[in-house]
């Protein structure tokens, strides 16, 4: 226990000191690690802890991104004020999808596929209606002042991503210690048995997807504030859904640190393939190469390591550790 606390403190100190020691490019890489870990954790809370695998989590990300952007651009809201509104919208969409799908009794693969279809509906609608400006996408006016949720120095957006990541880890940690979290794990392991034990399966699943939707929407707003641009395929395209799922699965679904570890691994692979692409001219396309590696990792994890890289660390640790309650 003591060793783990020490390790955490060291990790936190390193994360805090990191941007002071490296060039701007690497600060942005670090920011992306924590941001991806954050949205990955939002997937992990529903998909990992509660076992509700989603293929369309981007629907919450895009809802958040568009809500805050429309409030700012069309209605002149302050960016910070639009953030909770985006989270509320994400929660509402999460609640709606959960109530509809779980009332219909969808489970497992069926739930995964319907979330994909919801994301597709949102993508097509945002591509066609005037208030999102259709396929043109929306630009937020660049005005880098802290009160606008825009920063001139990348260090601040880095620290904000780190903060989000820490908050999401605390939420996941809280889940492992609370009765709510225990009920979710019971539902994941055996839904019928959980119901027989008196757990209100429907309500718990709705609650967790609402929470997950709010978190993911917060990530959407953060993303737009960093890049100041959003369009339907960024907001609701399948890529971000897959990314969230991958970092959690590879790191370890249903573990507190899984998404962060998965995100570090994803970024590491990205950087290695970027380097490879520089050395071997034939591999000039970096993005597909790293995704190929990641797809293979996903298959290996599903086949051999259900707990992801976290499981690997656990197994190699000398002391057999207590599993989550």
């Amino acid at each position: 226990m003591r060793g783990r606390a020490l390790l955490l403190a060291a990790g936190l100190a390193a994360a805090l000191a990191y941007p002071l020691l490296v060039p701007n490019y690497l600060i942005t890489v670090g920011m992306l690690i924590f941001f991806t870990a954050f949205i990955g954790q939002s997937w992990n809370i529903a998909g990992g802890f509660a076992g509700q695998t989603s293929f369309g989590h981007v629907v919450f990300f895009g809802t958040g991104a568009y809500t805050s952007t429309i409030l700012q651009v069309t209605y002149g809201w302050n960016a910070w004020l639009s953030w909770p509104a985006a989270m509320a919208a994400g929660a509402a969409v999460g609640w709606m999808i959960a109530v509809l799908s779980f009332r219909a009794g969808l489970r497992g693969s069926y739930f995964a596929l319907i979330t994909l279809a919801f994301a597709e509906v949102f993508r097509i609608v945002s591509n066609s209606v005037p208030f999102t400006r259709g396929g043109l996408g929306m630009l937020i006016k660049a005005d880098p002042r802290p009160e606008n949720f825009q920063f001139r120095d990348p260090i601040w957006i880095y620290y904000l991503a780190l903060l989000l990541c820490i908050v999401s880890i605390l939420i996941a940690w809280q889940l492992t210690r609370s009765r709510f979290g225990a009920r979710l794990v019971a539902i994941r392991e055996n839904e019928d048995a959980a119901r027989a034990l008196g757990i209100d399966v429907f309500t718990e699943k709705v609650k967790v997807l609402t929470l997950s939707g709010a978190m993911c929407a917060a990530g959407g707003t953060f993303y737009v504030q960093k890049y100041l641009y959003i369009d339907p395929s960024i907001a609701f395209g399948v890529e971000k859904s897959v990314e969230m799922l991958l970092v959690s699965m590879v790191g370890g679904a249903g573990t507190i640190f899984g998404p962060l570890i998965g995100s570090v691994a994803l970024t590491g692979i990205n950087e290695i393939t970027r380097w490879l692409a520089g050395v071997v001219p034939a591999l000039k396309n970096v993005q597909p190469l790293s995704l190929i590696v990641y797809g293979i990792m996903l298959m290996l994890i599903v086949a051999r390591l259900p707990d992801g890289l976290m499981g690997l660390f656990r197994r190699s640790a000398a002391k057999p550790e207590q599993r989550r309650a």
Binding site: T53, F55, S128, G134, L291, G295
Partner: protein
Amino acid sequence: MLDPAIIFAGVLNGLLAGGIYVLVAVGLTLIYGVLHIINFAHGSLLMLAMYAVFFLWRLLGIDPYVALPLVIGGAFIFGFVLYRLLIGRFSHGRDENILLLTLGVSIVVDNAALLFFGGDTETIAVPYAGTFVELGAAFLPLPKIISFVASVLLCAGLGIYMAKSDTGKAIRALAKERHGARLVGIDVDKLFAVSYGIGIACLGAAACLLMPTFYVTPSSGYAFVLVAFTIVVLGGMGSFTGAAVGGFLIGVTESLGGLFLGEQLGQIGISLIFILILLFKPTGLFGGGR
């Protein structure tokens, strides 16, 4: 309102497209019905087969329709081997695991296509592409009609094969009662791989029939996967009749959706049907139970 003649043409075009969708969906529903796995890689493997057809034409000058037996055979072997080496081995346990495994396959296939073939849109210019057949008020491209007829014949052939041949009978026995099938001496593991192979062979056939009028990019797979799942869910998972009826319904929906709602919003029909069917009648039109 639109001119009835335009709607008539739209319905006909939809039926023609639907005829090929049937082939894609039959492959998916066969894999589900026999193996009880949801093959998320279905669209990506179709995309791969379409590239195979494209390169056979580009490099060797083989007409897509002539390539039919070659691609069907190749796709069968590919599916058989993929099942033996990967999917069959790890398809134990929760159904989400298989979904994730086939998602992994589709990520690898899509990105390998992007890496090796590039992101460009590829088409095949067959010499008869500009030939049209007049049917009432509608002018229909000749390749679409050939593909439609070929698809219907292939589906009928597959239906007869499943009904009459020993392999077909054994596969149907396996779909109904896998333990019973093992008890009466059916080589279950081999037949699983054969079924998966047949499902992928359907994609090979669909690829040959699609390429004369369609295009392929590395993201084509994703465009097709939701269409295929919608057809299968609409018809009822595992049902052949359902896949056939669903294919035509979705073809017409897509065509009329594009006509009434425009290119962008028209695509929404398929996703909405998928959601509504899952929410209100998850067994589909012809499905038994889940």
